[in-house]
């Protein structure tokens, strides 16, 4: 009987075939044995420019062009390899020190082996993506070598060999092959092929085999600026050694559950999974919203938080009822509590420090003094982390943690880094350049958080510059909010029209660009935007119709004409999601050429537009709506102020002004209708920073003025969005991209309505948005005109945030936009600066049969991913914008001291938060700020009153109007310049 198995003797091609066997566990719980055949080949090039053999045999691309070889023919040398060298890192080297590879001073000509890339992808997706970014960058010369498919470098697993050992052997084999292969090129200077690894065993074996091999530290020391780079090597390298040193060290934190135990618990409902959020006021308190309960679970104390960092996906276990607590009414800042810790000494002062314990005691006292039961909230403890969401954090070195010796020598020293984000714990950092980094904004990452360490340990990535310089602070902000601010890559710019700024709407109506476009050039269209707006998305017109009705048109820049689905530009825009506006800077979603020129509906030139045209009665009832692609010519680009002046000036009687007046009248009626339907008028403190025109230094802060023309534009944009939402939902019931604003759970308002009842005797009814709107209108304090705004600001914070979604994921009643009291809503009117609008444009174009439906617009999975991303980006953009304003407000106030009116928004037992509407800022005033010696205080949580006695006697109540002195002050904890308020 001939065997059915593949025989390896007779077949001449047998050596070219290998197979790979592994077990795959799917999400649904299936476990499969997978066998993959691997076809080995010999034409995979080494990609070194020294090698001519590979160049001849390497496969050509579809156009018959030889592929471009990556590795330099004269790579840089080091002190040990003066002849030049190529680097071959193993997986651990990349996992530990990706930052090193991103340096611009070294780490060129790197060979990334396929096996390493695959392993990295399994271990860490973010790192994998960063590496892919590196391999794409032309100047770094990273080459991915498919060692598993090349006959000579393929390694079959031996009997009893572990996967890791086999992979290490594959790396060594590839290194050996490269060395031999390059030796055959007969180049004058043959570069050394150096394996980088932190695995001692692997290094030893490589040296035994006669290969060049270095550990990261050894290698970096050979480089010119080695000392600086040494800091980028994370701690983990010598952790093994450190562990041996301290055998007696006890573990401070409980151990995490195994992954399978957590998943089983979550599935059976005994454990809960959610994103961990740290309270901005108290670093020892966090909350987790889980699907099983309507209210978030509290996580209190270091031990229960168990090494979770804000943003991590964690699994929690609910604690027994006797451990339930009320959320803390105290402000606890990590900096204040753990001030004098020594980063070198670990664990010798007990796990929960004396001070922390004291802070908690306060809590207990208060909870127990409570007569009313049932205020306690369920608490939970974290039993495991499913996914770390660690990113790079911006911070600065805590001056007080630096020892004297560290300031001088270049010895490695441990210091604490205090992240800018107060929710992130301080990070222990080992660095040799303490002296240089003091007083700088630096970027650090967290490497690990051991059970035996109170604080996470991390390593230095790079310095952004001096604290409080504009460049450093702006970059810090962009990094903190994960805004993509790198310039657009070439692939994106290649998607732009070749004509550049000379692009024009084709003159001939026969041109394909005119196909199905309506010619609206003769309409009196104008745009109204903030001063200095360059990316004009929208323009409007109105004209009387013969039947007495009015035609109103909203014309939106036709971005989808220029950005085709799924090309590089579209992908980049979908990642950026939105344009980010900072006080002095704008980070565009689309390249400048489109945003500020070709798409922008500039006056006096013809532009492509997507128009929504309504016929309305003079009472603003809609008779019909129509959507069309069009060509328009805007007559004028007004600023809000200009438009307002023009409308108010009775002498202006031209057609354009009259049409704006018509629009204004209609918009008032539309607004009234909306209000009657229960739309909320919400509020957030908004200010504008005035800059000096030359130096763009902030000189003054002003609250934003509200003009009628602003609500004019707003009303029509809302109307356009609603009309488009209905249309695309009609056309694509499963995949329309919409925006919803969920009704907030009633419990969100509990606190506020109780506060209003106790302090002002006002009722807040929250049954519907209409009821809420009415009761908010009724919240008036005659003595204090700002009170109503204050309540609106606080109510806004109780709301859910609006989100984009794909219509198939929600039931129709869930589409509702609570704030606008609209049944269905989307974003359509700002495609230049929001990606959602661009998608809506494509869907609308397909809905009116202007173009075929592109698969990406129809695929629900893809749209869901897009929605998820833009929701995050949108939120980050808002936060970044606000943070930027806060920074500039601080800068504008620098060196000045003013007295302003403020309002108490929130009271703790040891401080209170004051909002100053003039600057749109809020700040915490601690008891210890009131006088030199901290006054005694009694806090009455029932009546929201804080009474101080002793060194200073004041009574502070919620909603109280207070006079505060506003000065600027550098916040020691975050290194930000912010405002400091003092009670006058």
């Amino acid at each position: 009987m001939a065997s059915l198995k593949r025989s390896f003797d007779g077949d001449p091609f047998a050596a070219n075939i290998s197979s790979k066997v592994y077990v795959r566990s799917t999400k649904s719980g299936k476990v499969q044995k997978i066998v993959r055949e691997v076809y080995l080949r010999q034409d995979i090039p080494c990609s070194s420019r020294l090698c001519h053999g590979c160049l001849n045999t390497a496969p050509k691309d579809a156009a018959g062009q030889a592929i471009h070889f990556v590795l330099s023919d004269a790579p840089a040398g080091t002190s040990v390899f003066p002849q030049g060298h190529y680097l071959v890192p193993d997986t651990n080297a990349l996992l530990n020190a990706m930052d090193l590879f991103e340096q611009s001073s070294a780490f060129y000509d790197v060979i990334i082996l396929q096996i390493v890339l695959e392993e990295l992808r399994n271990r860490s997706l973010p790192l994998y993506n960063r590496l892919i970014g590196l391999t794409k960058s032309e100047d770094k010369r990273f080459y991915v070598f498919f060692n598993e498919f090349r006959l000579e470098t393929h390694v079959a697993r031996l009997d009893g060999e572990s996967v890791n050992d086999r992979n290490d052997r594959a790396v060594r084999k590839a290194v050996a092959w490269y060395a031999q292969h390059l030796a055959r090129t007969k180049a004058r200077k043959i570069p050394a092929v150096v394996m980088l690894s932190n695995d001692r065993d692997n290094l030893r074996k490589a040296r035994d085999e006669g290969l060049h091999a270095c550990s990261l530290t050894e290698y970096v020391k050979q480089l010119k600026d080695g000392d600086r780079l040494l800091d980028l090597i994370p701690e983990t390298e010598d952790r093994d050694a450190a562990k041996d040193k301290r055998p007696g060290e006890q573990n401070l934190y409980p151990e995490y559950f195994t992954m399978s135990k957590m998943m089983t618990g979550v599935k059976s409902g005994l454990l809960h999974q959610g994103i961990f959020n740290v309270s901005p006021y108290n670093y020892l308190e966090g909350s987790i919203r889980v699907p099983a309960f309507p209210k978030a679970l509290l996580v209190l104390g270091r031990e229960n938080i168990n090494r979770a960092v804000d943003g991590d996906l964690v699994v929690v276990e609910v604690l027994p009822k006797d451990q339930w607590k009320e959320p803390s009414s105290q402000v606890i800042e990590e900096e204040a509590v753990t001030k004098n810790e020594n980063p070198d000494a670990e664990g010798n002062e007990g796990f929960v420090s004396e001070k922390e314990r004291k802070a908690l005691q306060e809590d207990v006292k208060r909870t127990q003094s409570k007569t009313t039961e049932g205020h306690a909230q369920p608490t939970a403890k974290i039993v495991g982390v499913v996914k770390r969401n660690w990113r790079q954090y911006v911070g600065h070195i805590d001056q007080s943690s630096v020892s004297q010796s560290g300031q001088q020598g270049r010895k490695q020293d441990s210091v604490f880094v205090i992240p800018m984000d107060k929710k992130i714990p301080k990070i222990r950092l080992r660095t040799r350049q303490v002296a240089e980094l003091l007083g700088k904004r630096i970027l650090v990452t967290i490497d690990a958080w051991d059970r035996g360490s109170r604080h996470p340990s991390g390593h230095f990535v790079r310095s952004l510059g001096e604290l409080e310089t504009k460049a450093a602070e702006t970059e810090a902000l962009l990094l903190e909010y994960d805004v993509q601010y790198r310039p657009f890559p070439k692939t994106v710019l290649d998607c732009l029209p070749k004509e550049g700024h000379d692009w024009k709407v084709p003159a001939s109506i026969e041109d394909p660009g005119w196909k199905d476009r309506e010619d609206l050039r003769d309409l009196l269209i104008c745009s109204i935007d903030p001063i200095g707006c360059q990316d004009i998305d929208d323009a409007l017109h109105s004209r009387p119709l013969p039947n007495g009705n009015i035609e109103v048109g909203v014309h939106i820049a036709d971005v989808s004409h220029f950005v085709k689905p799924n090309n590089a530009m579209d992908n980049e825009a979908s990642i950026r999601g939105t344009t980010v506006y900072l006080v002095d800077k704008r980070i565009d979603m689309l390249p400048m050429l489109l945003g500020t020129d070709l798409c922008s509906l500039k006056p006096y030139v013809e532009r492509y537009a997507f128009s929504v045209l309504w016929e309305m009665t003079p009472d603003a009832d809609i008779v019909g709506a129509r959507f069309t692609k069009s060509v328009i010519k805007s007559r004028e680009a007004f600023s809000y102020e200009q438009a307002q002046l023009r409308v108010d000036d009775g002498s202006q009687q031209d057609d354009l002004t009259r049409s704006i007046r018509t629009l204004l009248a209609l918009s008032r009626k539309l607004r009234q209708k909306r209000m009657d339907a229960g739309a909320l008028s919400l509020s957030s403190p908004e200010v504008k920073v005035q800059m000096e025109s030359e130096t763009s230094d902030p000189i003054d802060v002003k609250t934003k003025e509200h003009l009628d023309t602003m609500s004019l534009v707003e009303e029509f944009m809302l109307l356009a969005n609603t009309s488009v939402a209905a249309k695309i939902y009609d056309a694509f019931p499963q995949t329309a991209i919409l925006r919803r604003h969920a009704a907030p759970p009633k419990t969100n308002f509990d606190e506020l309505s109780n506060q209003l009842k106790v302090k002002k005797g006002l009722e807040l009814s929250v049954e519907s948005s209409k009821a809420l709107a009415d009761s908010l209108d009724a919240c008036v304090d005659n003595s204090d005109p700002f009170f109503n705004t204050l309540v609106r600001i606080m109510a806004t914070r109780c709301m859910m945030s609006a989100e984009y979604f794909c219509s198939g994921t929600q039931a129709y009643p869930e589409f509702r936009h609570y704030g606008l009291a609209s049944e269905i809503y989307t974003h359509f009117t700002s495609p230049i600066r929001r990606y959602a609008d661009l998608v809506a444009h494509r869907q609308l174009a397909a809905a009116i049969d202007y173009e075929a439906v592109h698969p990406s617009v129809r695929s629900r999975g893809r749209l869901e991913a897009v929605c998820k991303n833009i929701n995050v980006r949108h939120r980050n953009a808002q936060l970044a914008g606000r943070a930027s304003i806060a920074y500039y407000v601080g800068q504008a106030l620098r060196g000045k001291a003013t007295e302003e009116d403020g309002f108490v928004m929130k009271i703790f037992s040891n401080g209170f938060v004051v909002l100053v509407p003039r600057f749109g800022i809020e700040s915490l005033i601690r008891l210890r700020d009131l006088a030199d010696t901290e006054p005694q205080a009694t806090y009455d949580a029932e009546s929201y009153t804080l009474k101080t006695t002793g060194s200073r006697e004041v009574t502070v109540e919620l909603f109280q109007k207070v006079r505060v002195r506003v000065t600027d002050q550098k916040d020691e904890t975050t290194g930000k310049r912010g405002v400091k308020m003092e009670l006058v």
């Binding site: 719980g29 476990v31 399978s260």
Partner: protein, 377 residues
């Protein structure tokens, strides 16, 4: 199916065969000894995508392959009780001091699904279904096999055995299929479990770390070197017991039995004999345990009877006249005239047959030894 297949032999040929096989020692048409198996060639691991596979070729050209696939399945819990206590018959008799893992580990016959495919026959053909039933019955008879599929109280492996005869059914394929299944199960490996307790199972993704369903003794020092059962086809002609009959031999069998035996791993533990016939097993290096016996309807019963010359009209007998005698003649045995066997197996023959199967150094022993030599890599 194949057992009822008509053999194109004349009554005279049948009678001759029967006579030859009734001799002491019997003379088999292919010259084998009564307890001799047909030579076979075997290999495992022929289907890379399966958890285990095997192929066996008999010298007569019949050939079978078996593939085993395993899937994780959720165990349905009987409320109140663990699945185990429900299943075990006479669970109380086994007492509490049984093997430590036996307490909550229990299998269910639903955990194994076996399908047989014979070329030229529908898969719901009675004969095919009977073959499948016999093979899975042997596997499940003592519950020890299904127990191996236990992962934890909430999950188990579900095993799909696909048994394929790839040659035409030249002889009754039961022994071939059984041996191939046996070999495939020996080669079967299941991914290594990494999770503990009753958690959702989580497995090692390294196939090299996968465990054998039946760990071989070389790797484990414990006595746990159990093997899946084998089902042997045995027939008796007169007082002769003949193993692994060829098609022609089966055509003249007085009685044909499918006997399933397994290695008795718990020889010491089985104080109370759960099977009456188990006493034949002597405590030895390998003790065999009888799992099941099935009688198979031999095709001989359907063969037309031979007619004695005296009653044959061709030899001058007048059939019309002799009609009543002809009937009585059929009842009497006439030397050299084929007469289809009637009635069941004789108890004495049965006992001898079972004894022969289980005997130390007997056929089953020999086969298990032979299959041991097959490389399971």
């Amino acid at each position: 199916m194949a057992s009822t297949q008509h053999v194109l032999l004349s009554p005279a040929e049948l009678a001759y065969l029967h006579a030859a096989l009734s001799l002491t020692p019997p003379i088999r048409p292919d010259g084998r000894a009564p307890a001799q198996f047909r030579p076979l060639v075997a290999e495992t691991g022929i289907l890379p995508g399966t958890n285990g596979s095997a192929r066996i070729c008999f010298a007569d050209g019949t050939e079978a392959i078996v593939g085993v696939k395993a899937e994780v399945e959720r165990t349905r819990l009987v409320d109140g009780a663990t699945a185990g206590t429900e299943w075990k018959e006479g669970g109380s008799a086994r007492g509490e001091g049984e093997d430590d893992d036996g307490g909550d580990k229990a299998g269910d016959s639903d955990w194994v699904e076996l399908t047989v495919e014979i070329p030229g026959y529908r898969d719901d053909d009675a004969g095919t279904a009977f073959l499948a039933a016999m093979l899975s019955e042997a596997l499940l008879a003592d519950g020890a096999f299904a127990k191996r599929l236990w992962i934890n109280r909430r999950f188990h492996w579900k095993l799909y055995l696909d048994v394929l005869l790839i040659s035409p059914p030249l002889s009754y394929p039961l022994p071939l299929l059984s041996l191939t299944t046996h070999l495939a199960l020996l080669a079967t490996r299941l991914p290594r479990l990494k999770s503990e307790g009753d958690e959702d199972p989580f497995f090692d993704d390294d196939w090299a770390a996968a465990r054998h369903l039946f760990p071989r003794s070389s790797s484990s020092t414990t006595k746990e070197s159990a093997r899946p059962p084998v089902t042997l086809l045995v027939m008796a002609v007169g007082n002769n017991i003949i193993f692994d009959p060829a098609k022609e031999e089966l055509a003249v069998a007085d009685v044909a039995l499918a006997v399933s035996v397994a290695e008795d791993t718990t020889a010491a533990a089985t104080t109370a004999a759960t099977m009456d016939l188990d006493d034949a097993a002597a405590p030895a290096a390998r003790s065999l345990r009888l799992l099941s016996i099935r009688t198979i309807d031999p095709p001989s019963r359907l063969t037309p009877p031979g007619v004695p010359n005296a009653a044959n009209s061709a030899y001058g007998a007048t059939t019309a006249q002799k009609q009543p005698e002809a009937r009585t003649a059929e009842a009497e045995a006439v030397e050299g005239v084929w007469r289809a066997p009637r009635g069941g197996a004789k108890p004495l023959v049965m006992a001898a047959l079972v004894q022969k199967v289980l005997e130390k150094g007997g056929v089953a022993d020999e086969i298990l030894d032979a299959l041991d030599a097959v490389d399971l890599g």
